[in-house]
Symmetry: C2
Subunit: 342 residues, 2 copies
């Protein structure tokens, strides 16, 4: 196979340009006429040229790859975050390689190690789950790393994160202002610090209103399936809630499915509020009242920070915090007054 | 920074084991007592050891990375496919790096080039959109490549794909058997060969039944938002359909939202069938009748083929085809007879 290896020189010869020009066109550096660019790309394509990025990285030229480690791909929230980062990276001339950890600290450690070992120029770690020791070792390695939605152990690594507490307070206050008194809550996954923040806000708000009742809290895991189950549990209570706040939109959709399966109408018989503002939240019936993170801005901030870190700029202790925002749609309304009850 | 570089030798000294043992534990090769394993991992963690994968790849040891190029992360279908491949890869001792192309042939070419240039051991390309020339150049490069859901230009590269035609026939026949005569269809994205297959099946079936009416076909793009719009368009017709088959589940959910917004009940007033069987299809109300691809088996097949190709086994012209399956749930039912019409 090595005898067949196509090099920059082959491409340059076929395109009738210099090797430097081929290299710069293929790496998207410098400016060229569209004709030159097209000729180089066509020649590279025709010869089946593939850039030897590993070799390039070894020679000290940076690869154009940013790495991102996320807990899972199937969560719409993480998928949106990865898309936002990929878009921002692309605008800056980088590709984004996405790896999943399946929420396994050892897999996280392995992936981070492999990526920083040479695959990626910089690494975005979404919701790091490794120990404080692991974060400290990353700090010592001085590799360009940005943590996203980290609320855990103190660190000097740069962090980009979005609020979950204030947005959740706003969601519960919205339901209280509509006149709800029995408000259920379905938590996120146990290991998630974002889930902890959302529960903390709900609890604080309900305690302050003198309405705290632990029977109204059900454990969840961010999935729609668990929303269906927990929704049925809450709606089977002797005194069921008139509103349910779920720690994710998928869980909220599960609650709506459970309510509808019991013949209840949302929001007339039950108000439902989610968290995340995933794309389907605006295009469902009823459309979903929810709390949104500014995903695009977060993606931009992660990529900006990584690029600064790679350039040797000081990013130690940088913390970029974004607010969350309550978005009121159709799924929340005042409770029926008892006389109207169906 | 190089003076601080932590090597296998440092880890071995701290853990009190040989360098070979450290290497094998970190690469998940060979068998060790849990105690040895824990000691090595703890030492590596404590020292902040990160494997130098690029250097390893240069020395001729293969990296443990498989690459996957998908059109986008936000589609639940592609996210599920990536998860299935990541799971299968993980079981075989590989990591999966996922890249997106945003359906841009040039970005696809760049990513494929970068990955095969050294980042990845083998590459899974989902719905390749490059020209026949690009596929031919991949063939000539003899790199381990597997194409997924490729229905385009003939190629000798190995292909894993799932049927869209027979499953769509089954969906339309199911609606005909329930007694529907006016059956609408919302297409997938224009560039998708899977979308073409689904439309072809619908058209063939409706023509054969003498029920073809092009006014019942609306262009879509696989999204929920477009499902809402196209749903309203179809339901505003003078003679609206009593059933709608959508080329994706998200689009089907959009149709259901549009129907409900118009005061119609699904399936009593309108039957809706989707395609993909995304996780939420089973946990919505009504649950969604849809067509499923065997995603887990597809993920396994892709990874098996890539590993065979990497090992030098003959995979030229291998075609692994999976059937699709109609899954009947609550969203499809016989039409109301006219006298019963609300």
């Amino acid at each position: 196979m090595s005898s067949e290896k196509v090099t920059l020189a082959h491409v340059a010869r076929l395109a009738g340009v210099s090797i430097i020009t081929v290299s710069r066109v293929l790496n998207n550096k410098g400016r060229f006429s569209e004709a030159t660019r097209a000729r180089v790309l066509q020649a590279a394509n025709q010869l089946g040229y593939v850039a030897n990025t590993a070799a390039r990285s070894l020679r000290g030229h940076p690869t154009q790859i940013l790495g991102m480690v996320i807990p899972e791909l199937v969560s719409p929230y993480f998928a949106e975050l990865a898309r936002a980062a990929a878009d921002a990276a692309s605008q800056m001339g980088y590709d984004l390689a996405v790896f999943t950890t399946s929420r396994d600290p050892e897999r996280e450690r392995e992936r981070v190690g492999a990526l920083l070992g040479g695959l990626a120029d910089g690494l975005i770690i979404v919701v790091p789950i490794g120990s404080a020791g692991f974060l400290a070792s990353l700090e010592r390695s001085r590799a360009p790393v940005v943590l996203v939605n980290h609320f855990g152990a103190p660190t000097h690594l740069p962090v980009v994160r979005a609020d979950s507490f204030e947005g959740s307070l706003a969601a519960v206050r919205h339901l209280l202002a509509l006149g709800h008194r029995r408000i259920g809550f379905i938590t996120g996954a146990a290991h998630s610090s974002q889930a902890t923040e959302r529960l903390r806000a709900y609890r604080e708000c309900m305690l302050a209103a003198g309405l705290w009742d632990e029977r109204l809290v059900r454990p969840g895991d961010f999935t729609q399936q668990r929303g269906v189950e927990a929704g049925h549990e809450l709606l089977s209570l002797e005194e069921p809630p008139t509103a349910i706040f779920a720690a994710s939109d998928l869980t909220a959709f599960g609650v709506i499915a459970a309510a509808q399966a019991r013949g209840l109408q949302v929001p007339q018989d039950l108000s439902v509020v989610g968290f995340d503002d995933i794309p389907t939240a605006a295009h469902s019936h009823p459309s979903l009242t929810t709390v949104a993170h500014p995903i695009q801005a977060m993606g931009q901030a992660m990529v900006d920070l990584i690029i600064k870190a790679k350039a040797g700029e000081q990013v130690r202790d940088v913390l970029v915090e974004f607010p969350s925002e309550l978005i009121v749609r159709e799924s929340s309304a005042p409770p029926r007054i008892p006389g109207e009850k169906v």
